[in-house]
Symmetry: C2
Subunit: 519 residues, 2 copies
Amino acid sequence: MATSSPYQQLRDELAEIDALSGIEGLLQWDEQVMMPSGDGAASARAKASSALAGVVHAKRTASSLGELIELCGGRKVTQEKLGADATTFDVANVKRAAEGFDRASRVPPAMAKKEAELGSRGYRAWMEAKKNSDYSVFAPVLKEWVELVKERSSLINPGGDPYDTALDDYERGLTSARLDEIFAPVKAEVSALIKQVYDVEEGPVALRSVGGKSVLTGDFDAEKQAALSRQIALEMGFDLTAGRLDVSAHPFTGGADFTDVRMTTRYKSDDLSEGLTGTIHETGHALYEQGRPREYAGQPVSQAHSMGVHESQSLLWERMVALSPDFSTFLLPKLSDAFFGQFDGVTNDQLHASFNTVKKPSFIRVESDELTYPMHVILRYELEQGLIKGDVDVDALPELWNAKMEELLGHRPPDDAKGVLQDVHWSAGAIGYFPTYLLGAMYACQIYETALTKLPGLEDEIRKGEFARLREWLNKNVHALGSSFDSADALLEHVTGKPLDGEAFVKYLREKYTKLYGL
Amino acid sequence: MATSSPYQQLRDELAEIDALSGIEGLLQWDEQVMMPSGDGAASARAKASSALAGVVHAKRTASSLGELIELCGGRKVTQEKLGADATTFDVANVKRAAEGFDRASRVPPAMAKKEAELGSRGYRAWMEAKKNSDYSVFAPVLKEWVELVKERSSLINPGGDPYDTALDDYERGLTSARLDEIFAPVKAEVSALIKQVYDVEEGPVALRSVGGKSVLTGDFDAEKQAALSRQIALEMGFDLTAGRLDVSAHPFTGGADFTDVRMTTRYKSDDLSEGLTGTIHETGHALYEQGRPREYAGQPVSQAHSMGVHESQSLLWERMVALSPDFSTFLLPKLSDAFFGQFDGVTNDQLHASFNTVKKPSFIRVESDELTYPMHVILRYELEQGLIKGDVDVDALPELWNAKMEELLGHRPPDDAKGVLQDVHWSAGAIGYFPTYLLGAMYACQIYETALTKLPGLEDEIRKGEFARLREWLNKNVHALGSSFDSADALLEHVTGKPLDGEAFVKYLREKYTKLYGL
């Protein structure tokens, strides 16, 4: 392709936007990890971020960009249109650019401004509401968000279902019809499985001889935790020449682009599990970022597929690998080395059971375990869908929340701070986001089952701490594919031979917890 | 002033440019201190920085900005023009904006691009030339720079003297006529003083009993050096809620703005002096940054006055304070605490003499001491002035350099790597920059002499490690004045009652070294 072709011009424009957007990523990292604590720094940073966001928004919505996208065929782009050298990635690249342009340019500046304003007002209201467990402080903001999300959806996708449009923002091509289909068996069967597990008063089989006590609680030096976690991140394949690992109050993975991936984690001295599994979780995200297709650097097609697929990569390493019995076999000698005397007499099974003990009660999503987690997500999904469809009234939300908790998990939160007010998402208008968490867990399960069949001996390798073959397989089959697929189902079909299958996820959980709890 | 007044609009525009430019500062800090080491990260960062620089340049040269500046009176702004509420700072603000706009907008994009290209080509050529001590690799680049600097000067200040225009870039209002006047006594008398000191074979008086050996060389734990340096930076008044202190290969002070000032330093285990005085030097810069006038945040008038005045603040703390006998009295017990046993029997005078021993030979500017430093700068000043005026041929530079070294310091460099190729500045086209280093030292001396008369008991306070009164005086008289003066001489006159006085600086050096070396 000649450098002056419309597609080359489009690529250049997109790469510039991506470079500026990478700076936004760095600023966010810096704010969480490095920025001085003074109010002045926070306020100056807010102005700087807002100035940069204005620049990026102007470029993302420039009519010249829209014209280039249309010249390249827009959403109806074909390989023929782009020329002889064009690949399927180039075709997907133009599609992703067209989708992104529409999403950005169909929201008028006044609405974008209102969203930003409501976001910061909403955050403050939510903080206060949660602090005092007073939902009435938050309800007015949520009402505004519900209206704004509907309005935005009607502009982005005129005539479309507003909640589906919101879902598509986080998970390309997803609809609530498809979610209902996927979540139905999970809701029905996992809820029942939780009740069965809750009925086992003696706890996990392997911990009964020690009175049910987890071997992961106690007093563990945070620096030793950090050193061990760092070592495991490196063994998993995190590339420190293309990233950093730091500590922050709220763990996340961000940075500039795949050449500079910055993840953070945190360590609690009384709980070994959180820092370790948290680091492994973030490393899963980081490996996805570092593994994105380099030959499309700066292009939309090089981005990770979606929120849900991103979460699948963190959860595959966290749950399918680190919470497996094989990983406990690998880990136990390392724990014994790092924490002298504290793991004397502990067995692999006890370590594995400690990582997998089901919480009872389980009120807080972010603290919940693999088994109760799906219920937390389904609850939010049903409620937020109801909010947008008009079936759920904002004022009725706390009671509906508590009733659903009772239905799905068997217990009611003691107050709204531990109920409807626990998550920040809705205060930022992130409606349609929660389902991606559970989708991620389900994708992870299905992708890992395929990995087990494609990579014979994988469990042996995990017992020995050999992660290279799994990482390379994930790289080839997920990371390096970027955003080249139109939907997660299409990606799943490519990787696993079938779209997402809710039943397989249920089966996995049933087998795991049946064994752990001797059901 | 109504929010819609042209001046308010101008302030808003300038604040946005400043916010984006603060992001550039953060990126530079990050690149030196945090960025992963991979080539990919460096290359992606170069693209991102270049994209942001393009955005900032476009805003700095926007015709709409020029029109607003003219509406406010441009370089001829008056208080009457700006309205009843306008202060002298507002007037200076418009002037500084006008100067900045002219400097940026009179350079056409093609020339700015050529400068960027020559800058990176020049850096590579200089690196190679220095590595092999081969001036012929660097000479062609320097020839290009000489022409480009002249061309740029003729555009920025048509009809003006090109070297004066280059000087003005770094030190507002400075001319070579004024520099000649200021530097003349220094050149004549300091050179003679150096020869006197060099003739004292026995070294500083206080070190004669220990065979001339510095008490600051040996083996000093780098972490203990860092902890001590940090403590001193905090005692000097560096505000960690509005800044950071990290380690980097090349110490510098940068960051986003006065709310987020990031300084770096480095420590050598065999030399206690460099890390300690380096930290104090950078803290001097940082205090200036943190002390800029907050009520003009984001405005040009809130910026530090100039390179030279910035250097005066670092050198005031480094040379006038930390290299004084009083500071050695304060420091010695701290060194004894930090480095157990290593300062047994050392006296205050020995410590002070160790900090102030004159290098012989003194080839390298950045390693040189307070006494030989002025000669290094004057040499560069005379040569670069000659290059621009056409009196010095690029090809003759190495020989002229060596001859001047012999004239001013009494010794010739062994090769060009230790001579004409030692500094990076010219490879980046920074011609007119070197004089600010010596100006900084001279400003520092004159400002500190005033401080001593205005703050009776100051030397006592320094012996006790009490720096608050000096810092506050500097804040009020220098830092908080920002760029409100049209020239450094005007600022000096405001602070010290007279413009810069070369004789006073010579007198200070003569007294100091006469005592130290028993001349």
